[in-house]
């Protein structure tokens, strides 16, 4: 497994209520409290339908990738549908916000990051 810091991708599922509001809000809250960089998208399904080229950008490189979205089977084939299949080398971890607690998701997303704790209060 790569020692590179993980890329994080968060899906808001903005076009439907498939992901519980409380879970997706809490996960986003934890990401925003942390000091890390992360990518967030309105809706992976919509990007897949449009075959959005940014999905390929997300997969580019050798870093581990953590995706907070929905069922891994759905996410796998959504990327495939977009023409950018997920690599099967074990560097992609899909976390399911539909049936997992927000804390468990956020802990997994932030695991091993160097800026895990709440940070970034404004400079006076």
């Amino acid at each position: 497994m790569s020692d590179l810091p993980a890329k994080i991708l968060y899906c808001r599922c903005a076009f439907a209520r498939a992901v519980p509001e409380a879970t997706k809000n809490a996960v986003l809250g934890r990401l925003c409290e942390s000091g890390i960089s992360f990518e967030s998208v309105a809706d992976l399904c919509e990007m897949s339908a449009r075959k959005d080229p940014r999905l390929a950008e997300v997969l580019a490189g050798d870093e581990p990738i953590r995706i907070a979205a929905c069922f891994p089977r759905a996410v796998k084939w959504l990327f495939h549908h977009a023409g950018t299949p997920l690599p099967d080398d074990g560097r992609v971890e899909v976390l399911n916000m539909r049936d997992t607690s927000a804390d468990a998701i956020a802990d997994a997303l932030l695991a091993g990051t160097t800026s895990h704790s709440p940070s970034n209060s404004p400079t006076p």
Binding site: P5, A18, E46, A49, P53
Partner: protein, 291 residues
Amino acid sequence: MKNEIHPVQVILYEGGGSTPWEVDCRLSVTASLLDQGYSVLRVTEAAGNGAAMRTTRGIPVIVLGRFTGPMPEVVDGAGELRIATRDTASLGAEEILSLVTTVREDLGADLNRPGQTGAWKPWFPVIDYDRCTNCMQCLSFCLFDVYGVDEDKRIQVQNNDNCKTNCPACSRVCPEVAIMFPKYASGPINGELVKQEDLARESMKIDISSLLGGDIYSSLKNRSEKAKSRFSKERSPDKALDERKRCLTQLQQSGMIPAEVLAELDLSSLPSPEAIQRKAKELAALREAQV
């Protein structure tokens, strides 16, 4: 497909030469932008997603930051990106959201906005090729040309936009539980792992052949041919529509198409008798090629 619409990428820049945002403001702005259809990349100097800002050709970019010095000029040497940079040092969350709207309009960028009238809800079938056996049941079943085949005669989803929102009917006719609608409420259609009991349930599905005496297109073809001879002297578009409506009602009564989906269908948008006959011929040729 709404190919002409691209989500605008907003970059919350909190790296060198800027001060970080308050957590509440960052969360509020990020959540609101996502709910409006934007994508948001937060860039810090810490690990994760790289301090380097990744952008994608053709997608408009708005860079927001609380810059401590002169506002950096962000340019795209290749001239392929529309980039706007704005200093948000004195702005609250609401003002930032207004600013983003204004800048997006200035960039001439459009959004597919969730919840807005006219927005396209991303509802379309996603095929699990680990399960699909290329039986073509879905292609036979769908009246709206959502499915097609690639150059290797492999089934694929070709026309996402043709899919009728909230209709999961094709996934219900798939004998291998290989068709997902990720926004569907329950499994395995929503992408949950397929369990043994799901397979058992699927094996009890109504066989389309028994439902309509053949595949949908053959059935509709027969119906349209009968209708053609019946109305040959006084062909009426209304009668043709009635014919299609009867066929769809039969499907709805079988439980395959939700009543609310059927109620919203624009029957005049259904395939014409000629299109149905052409499709039936194409399917027959495909099946012959598979034998």
